[in-house]
Amino acid sequence: MKQDRQYSDIPGTYVFDPHHSMQGYQLNMFCMSLNNPDNRDKFRQDEVAYLDGFPLTPEQRQAVLTRDWLGLLQLGGNIYYTFKLAIFDRRSMQYVGGAMSGVTEQEFTDMMITGGRAVEGNLYTSEEK
């Protein structure tokens, strides 16, 4: 598989490429299962028991249980799938965005209202502050 990828120097970005997709398939399919209201009820009743139905790695399982939003991406999660877990928790995209970037929901919301995260310093890992 292609290893040398031009996008690997974009800071703070987990590209959902073939490698990532293979790594995260089961994790993302667990997240997908939460589209179904019956599954949401089962997960609400007993998260650990529900997760037994999905062959996740111990690290992925832990990241789900602790809501480690950045860890979920690093373990193969795709944001559109992992956000289903946030929907389950009634969390906003601003909450999750803040959790992944180390600020509170309000700080993240305020950053967006003032124009979003700056371009300068965020295009190449080599220019990260």
Binding site: Q6, Y7, I10, P11, G12, T13, Y14, V15, F16, D17, P18, H20, S21, Y25, N28, M29, C31, M32, L34, N35, N36, P37, R40, L70, L73, N78, I79, Y80, Y81, F83, K84, I87, F88, M93, Q94, V96, G97, M100, S101, G102, F108, M111, M112, I113, G115, G116, R117, V119, N122, L123, Y124
Partner: protein, 280 residues
């Protein structure tokens, strides 16, 4: 014959749909965005297209990682709003146009675009939010809809040049349909945004403005933007903008901009809208 007369490019942020559904559009956070949608709704009421082909992406609703079609066209008579985890949006059922959709699929495949054909495809915010933006909250949507779902979640997404070429082929297909129909194409998604990672919240107004300008001023540049440039300059989810290029490909070379609106933020996204019309 059917006539493809116009294109619309618009973001499809779920929060915009939620603001409509929960009557928040006049709150300070949303007011500027929705005020800018007013002229687009007036345009929609005035023009009354019979059919709109909505190019959007499915967000783990109808499709999942089990099956990842690059281009899937819905040929059903109706499409139900999907449950994305909140319960389905309380919006009208989306009515399809099976005869035209099948005609387009047949034409595209004969033209060497190997489409996936979907008879059952619940539609998520990617498709229903643009309808809310353009039509508000009617009892029934005012037009038939042909959904065209594009994979932009799993890398690699289709290239911009391929999307543009698909748009051209859609134009030819529509205009060989033997019924007087007024047809528009909407390209949805974008504009710049990044939902994931430590760089979440990345927005690039300069990139977006240039993109809106070049829909009429320099199509060649837009068609040749590559995956890495989208992700770096427009955020990891900014690559959704390739879907606007399908709309662009379906228009005349000298299509004219008749309206645009741009606002940051809508949730974690830069929201853009543009209306382009073929001359005459």
């Amino acid at each position: 014959m059917a006539n493809l007369f116009a294109g619309v490019g618009t973001s499809h942020v779920p929060g915009i749909g939620a603001a409509v559904d929960h009557e928040k559009t006049q709150l300070p956070y949303w007011k500027t965005l929705f005020d800018g949608y007013g002229p687009a709704r007036e345009w929609m009421e005035r023009e009354q297209p019979d059919v709109v082909i909505i190019v959007y992406n499915d967000h783990a609703s109808a499709f999942s990682l089990e099956l990842i079609p690059t281009f899937a066209m819905g040929v059903a008579a109706e499409f139900q709003p999907a449950d994305e985890g909140y319960g389905p949006r309380q919006v009208p059922v989306v009515e399809g146009h099976p005869e035209l959709a099948w005609h387009i699929c047949e034409s595209l495949i004969m033209d060497e675009f190997d489409m996936t054909i979907a008879n059952k495809m619940p539609v998520d915010h990617g498709l229903t939010v643009p309808l809310s933006i353009m039509c508000g909250q009617p009892e029934a949507w005012p037009c038939k809809v042909i959904p065209l779902a594009v994979n932009v979640i799993q890398y690699p997404q289709p290239r911009g040049s391929r999307c543009f070429a698909l748009g051209k082929a859609i134009r030819a297909a529509v205009e060989s349909f033997d019924e007087d129909l007024k047809v528009a194409v909407w390209g949805t998604g974008g504009m710049s945004h990044q939902l994931q990672g430590e760089r979440a919240g990345f927005v690039n107004e300069h990139f977006d403005t240039a993109f809106l300008n070049d829909l009429t001023a320099n199509k060649e540049r837009l068609i040749n933007i590559g995956h890495t440039e989208y992700m770096r300059e427009a955020g990891s989810e900014g690559a959704e903008l390739v879907m606007w290029l399908i709309m662009l490909g379906a228009l005349d070379k000298d299509a004219k901009e008749v309206y645009r609106h741009y606002h940051v933020p809508a949730s974690n996204t830069a929201a853009g809208l543009i209306i382009l019309e073929n001359p005459g």
